[in-house]
């Protein structure tokens, strides 16, 4: 059986890649994709714990189903916000969206 630590390490690496993309991306849509990477890393952790620590009841899988449904709603709303702000500002540069800065 594969050790549990391998899955946790893989999820940690995916999470770190997602955070790097979230902070350094200039394109708005790439920021949205990085958020999806973060959510997938969390899901992978949930499923690994579900299989190794509590394999008989599948509670972690139910959690993962909830996370997937919330992620779908989140990406749809994020994309609608991006479309609205793109129509307003005519750019996709994150640095140009500084309307709320002082």
């Amino acid at each position: 059986m594969i050790p549990l630590e391998y899955y946790l390490l893989l999820a940690a690496a995916l999470f770190c890649i997602g955070i790097y993309g979230l902070v350094t991306s200039r394109n708005v849509i790439r920021v949205l994709m990085s958020i999806e990477l973060l959510l997938n890393a969390v899901n992978l952790n949930l499923m690994a714990f579900s299989n190794y620590l509590d394999p008989a009841t599948a509670t972690g899988q139910a959690f993962a189903v909830f996370v997937i449904s919330i992620a779908a709603a989140e990406s749809a709303v994020g994309l609608a916000i991006i479309l609205a702000i793109y129509r307003n500002r005519d750019t996709v540069d994150m640095e140009a969206f500084n309307l709320l800065k002082w």
């Binding site: 899955y7 955070i19 902070v23 350094t24 790439r30 994309l79 996709v92």
Partner: protein
Amino acid sequence: MTLAEGVQLVSFGLLAIMVIGTALGVVLLPNIVYSAFLLGGVFISIAGLYVLLNAGFVAAAQILIYVGAVNILILFGIMLVNKNQPFSPVRRGWIRLFATGGVCLGLFALLATVVFGTSWQISSAVPAGDQATVLIGIHLFTDFLLPFELASILLLMAMIGDIVLARREILTDETPADAVSDALTLPERPRELVSATGETTED
């Protein structure tokens, strides 16, 4: 999963390499369309990992929802905001790159220390396997009933919010002046553009 030990390890290694490689491609490639397709690769590889983790139902849901819906939605978004603009370099942008890289590496080191420093209580119970689908259904309608209903309300709110956010204001009572050349366009309420270069007026 009834695979042999070595087969599981080799498939895990291949899937892990695919996940990390495609995720790096998503973050680092300059072309956003390539990034979107590689994001589909990330989702499919993670679905493979779910199959290795005895969760066939969630793997199928992952492919259906992420690859079939979210990834297509992101591709639509890319094509709707299809703007090929060169980004003006930020002043002292390399500080941000190196600081973020350092923070991410530090976070990874911290997580790895925690992962290897904790003694996990591995259960020896028999995995649910294909019975997991029934178990998830039982969970959703007994002890997770309230989150389930809240999720349905949240999805409804997200749908209505999307329509409100992304719609355009179409004027229905005006007919276009030139009926031939404007046959494929709808009259849209004029809106004022906020200048993208930043306001330098009042402070």
